[in-house]
Symmetry: C2
Amino acid sequence: MFEKIIAMSLLYDFYGQLLTIKQQEILEMYYNDNYTLAEIAKELGVSRQAVYDSIKKAEKILFDYEDKLGLTTKFQETNEAIGKINKFIEQALSEPATDTSLRKELMEIKAIIDKLND
Amino acid sequence: MFEKIIAMSLLYDFYGQLLTIKQQEILEMYYNDNYTLAEIAKELGVSRQAVYDSIKKAEKILFDYEDKLGLTTKFQETNEAIGKINKFIEQALSEPATDTSLRKELMEIKAIIDKLND
């Protein structure tokens, strides 16, 4: 379940704006606020089955966008690469042999990465 | 015009799969193959006006997706950041003072970036 929440959350971050407001609302209740199906049904005054169907439909839409565009996969690759670069830089900075001018350059790279991760 | 082609090409790379096959075909003829409206019209056996309308409609769809999702902007920021990192690394590698172990690490970062840009 935990992995599914992360995958859905990433898909929602990318493509959520393409869902209807109602679909966004239900997914947020379910995935962000951890409401149960019964709680969402009560809140919206609809059946538990209707909530379930809405979630499945909205999830399918998000998966279909990812199937067509593959953008979360592309982004994840970039993020992993940046994570690796960050690790290398931290290692280089921790080595006393690293000279001052290079140290300054590495700090600048780190600042770029930090800004990107904001 | 040149800037518009780049912008449209980026939007098309990101969201083109969400267009119909026919829309994709027309945009590719127009932007990739540099066909004129008249040439596309002749090729497809439709009026020049119909081609023009199709292009405008397809462009609007791409712009609407970008308005909602903003993914090309996000990607461009990341790419610019990676470009800057690459420049720093090349500079560091060109300095004779850079020691061997660090040089090895910088080469590894460079390899990650090169792989990303493939």
